[in-house]
C-alpha cells in the first residue's frame, strides 16, 4: 500500500445498512493503516436518513405513507439534518485519514464541495457554494448534500449525495437539510437530458483524486468495477 493512494469501491445499488456496515469496517481498517484512503460510490434504494440534529418533523410524511412508498428511515451518526437517498443519485462515502495535513473539518467540507462543483462544471452545470449552507447549489437550487462524520484519529465517513437523474419528487417527503422551501435539482433536470450515474462517477473520481491529491489505484478500481 502506497501512501497517497485512493481505492475506489463502486458498490452499485447498495442497501443503506450494507453501506453503513462496510463504512464501519473500513473506518477501523483505515485507522489501523490496513487499507489506503477509500472512496465508496453507490446508489441507495429509497431511504431517508436523519443526522443527529434532525427533528422528526422534518419528515413530512406519516409512517404509513413512507411504508407505502417503500421509503425506510435511518438515524445515523453524521452531521447535518435530514436527507433523502434514492436510485439515480450518486452517493459518495470517502473513508480518508485526514492526518497529518488535512485536520480541518471546514476545509474538508469545502474540499468535498469543490470536488462536486468541478465535476458539475465538467458536465456544463454551473454550481456554487452558498454562505453558511453547506452543500452545492445551482443558483438557489440544491443539487448536492453533504454530511460527514470524523471518527477518532481523524478518519472520515459518510459524505455527499449528488442528484444525477433521481426522481426529485421524493424530496417532498422531507425538509431537505432542515431548510424550508428549498428547491432541489439534479444534473438531468438542469441539462434537460438523461445522464448516467456511472458517467458522473468517473468524473467525480477524477476530480476527487485531484482535490485530495490522491492517486487512484487503477488495479483496485478495475477490480472494484
Amino acid at each position: 500500500m502506497c501512501p497517497g493512494t485512493l481505492e475506489i469501491k463502486n458498490l452499485g445499488l447498495s442497501p443503506y445498512e450494507e453501506s453503513l456496515q462496510i463504512q464501519k469496517e473500513l473506518v477501523a481498517s483505515r485507522r489501523s493503516g490496513g487499507v489506503p484512503d477509500q472512496l465508496l460510490l453507490q446508489e441507495h434504494p429509497h431511504v431517508i436518513t436523519m443526522g443527529k440534529s434532525a427533528p422528526e418533523e422534518h419528515i413530512i410524511m406519516t409512517k404509513e405513507q413512507l411504508d407505502d412508498h417503500g421509503i425506510r428511515v435511518f438515524h445515523v451518526g453524521r452531521g447535518g439534518d435530514v436527507t433523502y437517498h434514492g436510485p439515480g443519485q450518486l452517493v459518495g462515502y470517502p473513508i480518508l485519514d485526514l492526518k497529518p495535513d488535512r485536520k480541518d473539518l471546514h476545509r474538508y467540507l469545502r474540499d468535498l464541495e469543490e470536488v462536486l462543483i468541478r465535476s458539475l462544471s465538467a458536465l456544463s452545470v454551473r454550481a456554487r457554494r452558498r454562505n453558511n449552507l453547506t452543500g452545492v447549489w445551482v443558483e438557489d437550487r440544491k443539487i448536492a448534500a453533504i454530511g460527514v462524520r470524523v471518527s477518532s484519529q481523524w478518519i472520515t465517513s459518510h459524505g455527499f449525495s449528488l442528484n444525477v437523474r433521481n426522481d426529485l419528487s421524493y424530496f417532498e417527503t422531507i425538509v431537505p437539510c432542515g431548510i424550508k422551501n428549498v428547491e432541489v435539482t439534479s444534473i438531468s433536470n438542469e441539462l434537460g437530458e438523461w445522464v448516467e450515474v456511472d458517467m458522473v462517477s468517473e468524473i467525480v473520481i477524477e476530480e476527487f483524486s485531484k482535490i485530495f491529491e490522491l492517486k487512484v489505484d487503477k488495479r483496485l478500481t478495475d477490480n472494484a468495477f
Binding site: 443526522g51 443527529k52 440534529s53 451518526g77 453524521r78 452531521g79 447535518g80 492526518k99 497529518p100 485536520k103 480541518d104 473539518l105 471546514h106 476545509r107 474538508y108 467540507l109 469545502r110 454562505n131 453547506t134 452543500g135 453533504i146 454530511g147 460527514v148 462524520r149 470524523v150 471518527s151 477518532s152 484519529q153 481523524w154
Partner: protein, 461 residues
C-alpha cells in the same frame, strides 16, 4: 493525582465553537488513551473526540447540547486516579448547577464577539465572585493552595466560570514569590507542586498525541519581574480576550495602512442643514454616520475588503455588516449594524446612536455584537489625527476616522487664476487592510471613492 484537561478541540482554522452532542463515557469511568469519550458537532460534521490520556474521567464540565468556544475545558481526566477519587469530584460537580454555565462563550473571538463575551461577563460579574468561591476548584489546585497557604479566592481564575486552574495558581505563586513550606532541597519529599508540573509536562510533550497540538494555539503573554511598590492587577476577562485577539490578529494578518485626506465641508454643511430642519433627533447625524453610510455604499463593490481569508480560500461576505467601535473607557465593544448597505443615512445614524447608547448601558444582545464584516472606529473625536488600527479577526479591513479639524487648504481660484489658502474642515482617513487579499491599489481606489462620495455630498443620495 494529576488532572488532565480535555478542551474543546480546534478542529479547523475557521471553526470557533463546537456543540457537545453526546458524552460516550460517564464520570468515574476508566478510559484508555485515544478512546473516544464524547462526540461534538459543528456545521455538517459530527466528530468523535478521543481522550488524549489514559485515566479516570473525573469531571464533565459541559453538558450535552451546549455550544462552547474552542479551548473551553470539557472534562478532566485524572491520569493517576483510581475510582475512589471520583466521589469528591462528583460532589463538586453536583454543586455546579447547569444553569450557571454561561452561554456566552461561543463564537469566534472577533473584536465584535469578544464584546459579546464581555456583555455576558458584565451581566455575570455581580455573581461571579460569589460563585467562584462556592465552586470547588480541582483537587490539585486545592492541594497546591493548601501547601502554599493561599486562599483560592485571591487568585484570578481564567478557567471555566473563572475557576482557578492549576496554571493560574502556579502563575500566582510565581508572580507573588510565594514559597511552599518545604525546602526545594528536600529530595526525599519533593514539593507536590514540582511533581504535578513534571507529570503534566510529560504528557504534553508526548509526541504521540499530536492531535492535541493544534488545540493549544493559545496566546501566551510573557511575564515580567515585579519591582517593589509595583501594583500587579489581573486583567479582567474583556481585557484578556482583547489582548489575545490583538496578538493573534497581528500574528496572522500582514497589515498595511493607506491614508487619504478628505474635505468634510460638504458633509459639515449638510449636517447643519439637517439640524436646522430638525427632522432627526436632537443629536443630529454624526460624522461617523456619514462615513459609515459612504462605506456601506462602496463595500459591495470592493469584494476583497468585505471579506476574510479562510485557509486557501477567500470568503466574500454577502452581507455588509459594519462594526462601530464604542469606547467604554475602560474597554471597547464593537456593536454591529447588520446589512448597513440596505439602510439610508438617517437609519444608519439612528442605529449608531441606539447601539452606542445600549453598549454603554450594557443592554446589547449577543447577536448585536457578532458577525461584523468591516469595522469603523473614530478616535478623531478625542483629537487623534491619524490611526493605524489592527484588523479585527475574521475581517480584512478597518477604517479609522481622524480628527475632523479646520485646516489650511490650497485651492485653485479659477476666476482669478491663482492659488489661494482657505480654511476647510478636513480629516485623515486611514484604511488598515489585509495585504494577502487587498492590494495597495485596491485600498487606494476604495479610499479615493470614499473621498469622492464624502466631498460631493449629498451627490445622488
Amino acid at each position: 493525582m494529576s488532572l488532565f484537561k480535555v478542551p474543546m478541540p480546534q478542529m479547523g482554522e475557521s471553526i470557533t465553537e463546537g456543540t457537545v452532542s453526546k458524552w460516550l463515557r460517564t464520570v468515574g469511568h476508566r478510559i484508555n488513551k485515544d478512546e473516544p469519550i464524547l462526540e461534538i458537532s459543528t456545521d455538517k460534521v459530527d466528530a468523535e473526540i478521543p481522550s488524549p490520556v489514559a485515566g479516570v474521567l473525573v469531571e464533565i464540565c459541559v453538558e450535552e447540547g451546549r455550544t462552547v468556544e474552542i479551548g473551553t475545558v470539557l472534562a478532566y481526566v485524572d491520569t493517576e486516579g483510581e475510582a475512589e477519587e471520583v466521589s469528591s469530584i462528583e460532589e463538586s460537580n453536583n454543586q455546579q448547577s447547569p444553569k450557571k454555565i454561561p452561554t456566552g462563550f461561543m463564537g469566534q473571538k472577533s473584536l465584535g464577539e469578544s464584546g459579546q463575551t464581555a456583555v455576558i461577563e458584565k451581566r455575570n460579574r455581580k455573581n461571579s465572585e460569589a460563585e467562584r468561591l462556592k465552586m470547588k476548584s480541582s483537587p490539585v489546585v486545592q492541594k497546591i493552595a493548601k501547601e502554599h497557604g493561599i486562599s483560592i479566592s485571591n487568585v484570578p481564575g481564567t478557567g471555566h466560570l473563572e475557576r482557578v486552574t492549576k496554571t493560574d495558581i502556579l502563575r500566582y505563586i510565581k508572580d507573588a514569590g510565594i514559597h511552599s513550606g518545604r525546602r526545594p532541597s528536600d529530595r526525599e519529599n519533593p514539593p507536590q507542586l514540582d511533581t504535578v508540573t513534571d507529570s503534566e509536562n510529560e504528557i504534553s510533550s508526548n509526541g504521540e498525541i499530536d492531535i492535541w497540538d493544534s488545540f493549544y494555539k493559545k496566546v501566551e503573554h510573557p511575564s515580567f519581574p515585579v519591582s517593589p511598590g509595583d501594583d500587579v492587577v489581573p486583567m479582567d476577562k474583556l481585557r484578556q480576550i482583547t489582548a489575545d485577539h490583538m496578538v493573534l490578529a497581528k500574528r496572522v494578518v500582514p497589515h498595511v495602512h493607506s491614508v487619504i485626506e478628505v474635505d468634510f465641508s460638504s458633509v459639515d454643511q449638510e449636517r447643519r442643514n439637517i439640524s436646522h430642519k430638525g427632522n432627526i433627533q436632537e443629536r443630529g447625524i454624526s460624522f461617523t454616520a456619514f462615513v459609515t453610510w459612504a462605506c456601506s455604499r462602496l463595500l459591495p463593490k470592493y469584494k476583497n475588503i468585505n471579506a476574510v481569508v479562510s485557509g486557501k480560500n477567500i470568503i466574500h461576505r454577502s452581507r455588509v455588516n459594519i462594526g462601530i467601535a464604542v469606547d467604554l473607557n475602560p474597554g471597547l465593544i464593537v456593536p454591529v449594524i447588520k446589512d448597513t448597505d440596505g439602510l439610508n443615512l438617517a437609519e444608519i445614524s439612528l442605529k449608531i446612536n441606539d447601539l452606542a447608547g445600549r453598549t454603554r448601558s450594557g443592554d446589547l444582545l449577543p447577536e448585536e455584537i457578532a458577525g461584523s464584516t468591516f469595522a469603523i472606529t473614530n478616535p478623531g473625536v478625542l483629537g487623534t489625527v491619524l490611526g493605524m488600527p489592527i484588523i479585527p479577526k475574521g475581517t480584512s479591513a478597518i477604517l479609522v476616522l481622524g480628527a475632523i479639524e479646520k485646516r489650511p487648504v490650497v485651492v485653485e481660484n479659477a476666476e482669478k487664476n491663482v492659488d489661494e489658502i482657505v480654511v476647510r474642515k478636513t480629516s485623515f482617513i486611514s484604511l488598515g487592510f489585509d495585504h494577502r487579499i487587498v492590494d495597495g491599489a485596491d485600498a487606494a481606489r476604495f479610499l479615493l471613492d470614499l473621498k469622492k462620495i464624502l466631498e460631493a455630498f449629498p451627490g445622488d443620495v
